[in-house]
Each structure stands twice: as C-alpha cells, then as structure tokens.
Symmetry: C2
Subunit: 383 residues, 2 copies
C-alpha cells in the first residue's frame, strides 16, 4: 500500500441551514476543500451520507454531487454506515489512493436532516429494524440503557456525564463552524428536559444540516504541492452486532476495541501517543465509553476522567473533541466523520485558532454507527 496524505479540507457551518439543500451544502464543502488543497482536478470522489432517501427522497448521491460539482464523468460513489458514513467515506478514499488506482480523491460527507422527515424514525433505521425498532425503541433509549449499565457497573454519575457536555460546549464555543457556540453549565445539563432516563436534552447531540470534505492524495502529489505534511498513519474499521441486546456487555463497544487495536498496530502507536482525539459523542455516555475503549482510560474511569478535566482543552492529558464534538459542533450524520478529520487536520497544521493544542502532532478520529455496530478509526500524523 502507498502512503496517503490529507492535503485540503473544507466544510459548511453546521446547524439548521434552512436555505441550503443537500447538493448546495456538499458542493460548498467540496469546493472549499479543493481550493484549500490547491489542486486543479480530482480523480474520484466518495460521498458519505446515512439516509438521504428518507431525509430528502434522494438516493444516487455520488452521481448527483459529481454533476453539481461539475466533475462529470469522474467516478463518484455514495457510502453508508449510519453515523459512521463520513468515516467510511474517508477510508474508501484512503484505500483508493493507497491502491494506486487514483492520486487525488475527495472524501466528503453530508446530511440534510431538517427538511421535514421524521428524524428520530429515520435515524432508527441504523438500529435493528426487526428486533429493536419494531418493539419501539430508538437511539436515545438505546444509549440510555448503556448509560444505566455503566452507572450500575462502574458508579459513573449523572454529574460525570454532564461534564462531557460542559467541556464540549466550551470547546464548541471556540469553533466558528459549530451549531451551538454557547457554553452550558453542569446545572443546566442535569436540569435540562428528560429525554430517556438518565439522558437529558443536553446529553444529546442535535439534529443538524451540514457537509464536510477533505482531499486525500498520494505522496507524489502531496510533495509536488508542498503539502506532504499530514499523513494518514492508520485506517481501521470494525463491526459489532447491530442489536444492543445481542452483546455480552453493554458497557464495552467491541467494534471500537477491535478497530483501535488495528489502528494502533498500523500506525505503530499506543494510546498514550495520541495527543488529540475526535470521538463520536452522539450522547455524553458515548464519549465516556469510547474514551475507555480507545485505551485512553481504564474501563469504568471515563466519566471520572472527564469530570476531572483529563480530556479538556485546558488541562487534559489527552484533548478529546476540541472541535466541540457532535454535541456542540452539531451532527449532520454523514458529515460527522469527515468533520472529525478536518478538526485533526486543522490542529495538526496549527490552524485551529482559539482551540489550538500546542505542538499537536498525532491525532485520532473515532466515528461510529448505531450503538457502535460499526466503527471507523483513523490516525493522522504531522511529519
């Protein structure tokens, strides 16, 4: 396999973008990424999106976006892995460059969620339709079960979960592309509207519109452009049972553990080498569990770590979700995995503004679908 580099990035603001269609958003992000990379063409393109069929009655997003980006007859493919659709988009672009089939590939992601579809029902198609959704449960309920189990097994507290939201809103307040740039207090989180006990409104990532894109290139192209700087050190993907009830443990995400092992091995790194991590905090409990399963903290200690500032931008031993995470930056599901890569790209290039982590050289992005039935992990390294 050949080396691959991230040489450009662009995204829309995340939020309720009433005047932007799915194609508008994707093209905006893609053009920004192409411009940032300084390339005069691309060879191929991937579009990550979870369910544009249900959200906006439009499938065939690869061809649509190639058309509206003006790059026909270039190959363009839509990939989906629920909320990990952006992550698999980046992975397919990486594989295509690594294979030698292409030199410059755009990896994008997009979701338009506010156009009238029943969002909770559409998102529930990421769970097991026949055995979970049929019986009435949707994602807040599924993650609430995981939260309750974590609390019972490890003594994780309501306040520790809230600490994740407080941190991520504080980080997001420094991110011009974030949906919510308002800080929240611990008190506000634990008194917000109950959604699915113990998860409250401010434990949940929002419904969002948005798009994000990056350019992945071969070493030769990156070198020629003077952009041989941010290398994809690892790309790993894993799966787990789709239904939560089929798993031995409700508090360990096996797909995260499996993908992390592969990613660390491929990059030749260990958890303590990672300086910054964008992780999939669709609900506060998700960040807690994932920060354990990535090996940043001992199993059961993720909540305590967040509450003690060990993941914060200001005092963290590892900075988690400097972008604000899904919680504050927003979660247009197909775009999320790419937006994580963009945060790493900006941090490793020293261009993260008020969120900048000093001397950031190694970053990890963890994107997952459903209740972690799919997980994609990438490690980027600044050379």
């Amino acid at each position: 396999m050949r080396d691959a580099y991230v040489i450009g990035a662009g995204m829309t603001k995340f939020g309720e973008l009433w005047s932007n269609s799915i194609r508008d958003m994707f093209v905006e992000a893609a053009l920004k990424a192409i411009d940032d990379a300084g390339v005069d063409h691309i060879d191929s393109m991937y579009v990550g999106a979870m369910s544009s069929g249900l959200f906006v009655q439009q499938e065939h997003l690869g061809a649509l976006m190639a058309d509206y980006l003006g790059v026909v007859p270039m190959p363009a493919t839509h990939v989906e892995s629920a909320c990990a659709s952006g992550g698999v988009s980046f992975r397919q672009a990486f594989l295509e460059v690594a294979s030698g089939a292409s030199d410059i590939v755009l990896a994008g992601g997009v979701e338009k969620m506010t156009d009238g579809a029943d969002v909770t029902d559409a998102l529930a198609t990421a769970a097991d339709q026949e055995y979970e959704v049929y019986h009435g449960i949707t994602f807040p309920g599924l993650y609430a079960i995981m939260a309750r189990a974590h609390m019972q097994e490890f003594g994780t507290t309501r306040e520790q979960l809230a600490a994740v939201a407080v941190k991520n809103h504080r980080n997001g307040s420094k991110n011009p592309n974030a949906q919510f740039r308002s800080e929240v207090t611990l008190e506000q989180v634990i008194r917000s509207t109950m959604v699915a006990d113990p998860l409250r409104l401010l434990d949940c990532s929002p419904v969002s519109d948005g798009a994000a894109a990056v350019i992945v290139a071969s070493e030769a192209v990156a070198k020629k452009l003077g952009k041989q700087r941010i290398r994809v050190a690892a790309s790993a993907q894993a799966s787990d049972t789709l239904a939560l009830h089929s798993r031995k443990s409700l508090t360990t995400l096996n797909a995260v553990v499996a993908a992390a092992q592969k990613a660390y091995k491929m990059a030749g790194k260990k958890p303590s080498d990672i300086q910054i991590a964008e992780v999939h905090d669709c609900f506060t409990i998700a960040e807690v569990i994932v920060s354990e399963d990535l090996g940043f903290f001992e199993k059961g200690k993720g909540g305590e770590a967040a509450a003690n500032g060990l993941t914060s931008l200001e005092t963290g031993k590892i900075r988690v979700n400097t972008s604000g995470g899904l919680k504050s930056k927003g979660h247009p599901v197909g775009a999320t995995g790419i937006a994580q890569i963009i945060e790493l790209y900006e941090q490793l290039n020293g261009k993260a503004g008020a969120r900048q982590v000093e001397n950031a050289r190694i970053g990890l992005a963890e994107n997952m679908g459903g209740t972690g039935a799919s997980c994609v992990i990438h490690i980027l390294e600044a050379l």
Copy 2:
C-alpha cells in the same frame, strides 16, 4: 496495484421471495459464495443496495449483514449508486484487494423490493428529486424519452426493441435463478400493456427480491486455493449528469462511453475482444443504447443488431445477457451488478449449463444507475 481474482460466487433465486427478509437473502448468497470459494474466513465485505431505507426501513446494512453472517468484528460497508450499487460493491472489493489492504473480500448486493414500499417512488430517488421527480416523471417515462429519441434519430423500430425482450427471455428460460423462465414472442411484447409510450410492460425489467455475492481474492490466495483462473482485467467507473434534460444527447450515455474507454485501456482489450457481455437492460432501449456505447455496434445500429440475432446466444457475434438480463432474470437493484459478475464467472468457468457459450474467455459487465448517471464496467478474463 495487485492483481485480483474472482474465486467464488453465490446467489439466491431472483423473484418475489415473500418468505425471505433482506438479511436472509444476503446471508444465503454470501454463504454460497464463501462455500464455493472454499475459504475459511473473509477479511472485509461490501454490501451494495440502493434504498433499503425506503424499501424496508433498514439502513446500516454493512453492520447488519456482518452480524447475521457471523463475521463480526470484520469491517463491512454499504455502498450505493442506485441500480449500479452491485457494480460499485464489486469495484470497492477489487480496490481493497488491489491496494493490499485485504486478501479476501466479499462483494455482495441485495434488494428487498416487495415488502410494501411504493417501488416506483423509491426507485425515482435515483433521478433528480428537485428537477425531474418533483415534476412527476419516474423511470419508465425517462427511458421512454430516450427510446423515442433513438427511434427518431436512427429509425429504431418497435419490433427491434421487442427483439431484445424476446432474446433475454429465451436466455432466461435456461437460467434456474431467473425470475421469469418463460419465453415471450415478439407479438406478445408489442401487444403487452402500455407503460410509457413506446415502452410496454414486456420492455421493462420487473420488481424483484434477491441477493448475490462473489469473493475477490489476491493472487497469492487464489493460487493457494488452486483458483487462479478468473482475473479482474479491468474495473472502471464514470458519472454523468443526474438529470436527463441536462445532457447534449438523449441517445448516447456518456458515463458508459467514458467507463468503457477506461476499462478497455486497463484490460488492453477492444470491443471486438469481448465474447460475452452482461449489460444493464432495465428497459429494452437501455440494452440497445449500451450495446452501441460499449462499441459493440455502430451508434444507431443496436436495435437492428438485436433484431438480426447479432447479440443472441445462438447466432451472436457477441452474446449479450446470456443470463436473461435484468429483463428476465429479475432486477433486485442492489444485487444486479453482482449477478452480472456471477454470470461471467460461470460462463468463463464453463459452468453455465444450457446457457454456456463455447470457449468463453473474456467477458464484460456493464451496470448503471438512474438514466446512466453512474456506470461501472468490469472485464473478467479466464487465464
């Protein structure tokens, strides 16, 4: 890029499979392919499907199928390019093996279309929602426009279109997995119910359930298993404008032309080298146009060629759709591109039974989405 081989294949019967769910069908096809290949594991998997969200309220098919196939935590990714979803699934598997990232990859495709969804509306999401579907047109109407244009420009006749259906039903009558194993007469086609003038019921491929899967492997694995026989000589993909009205010509499919040029170049072949071709005959006119755009016949002569038996199993200079094509074999959209590869695999291995083409060594599969806004072409060669 490394060489890749097709070492195993399996599919369900295509048809109205009332007692089989989407997961049942995929697992059946995948297990058959794994068994046929004689492998004891796979490294990764792709699932091609167009719109399981709209058809059966289930996204996240990669993880679902990995779960039900019992291969968790293996990576599994859903890819979509409308009716070319199977073709892109095979292409991603090829790229993953060619990259060196994996040695044994399953490429599958599936669609469950008979479970109550409004099929014509769901399929219409492959067209441009904002500019085509919004104004009321669906696929029979779009292909009817192409047929009328071809008739006007080249004098293609109603009988020539019908000849495609007659041939494909005759081939399909010899295929045990085909949805329709009944032959039809020219008279029956041209007197069948009008759908969208000039296209009648027997010009249209049916609504189908089904799944198909193949195993793609590296040269080392193929060699070890004694299956170093069917090489993927070319994989090419291209796009066109999503909307038909944006194109300069209604009678040439630019994505087919562009993908074919790349495929022939990659394989070092020319159109006259191809002995058998599975092409995307969603409507009879599609086979006519594609057989021209692939370079098998001069532009405008595709209808005449079909009527004169130049594409038939019995008298063809090139045998087109020996499987029965989408028309007779059935068209569970996500499975179609893989089923095309399976027909080539069986023909090149001399295992196509009553449909066998003598000394078949080089075959081409052309799979497309929408009105040809995406196209994937593969060339397989028996060594």
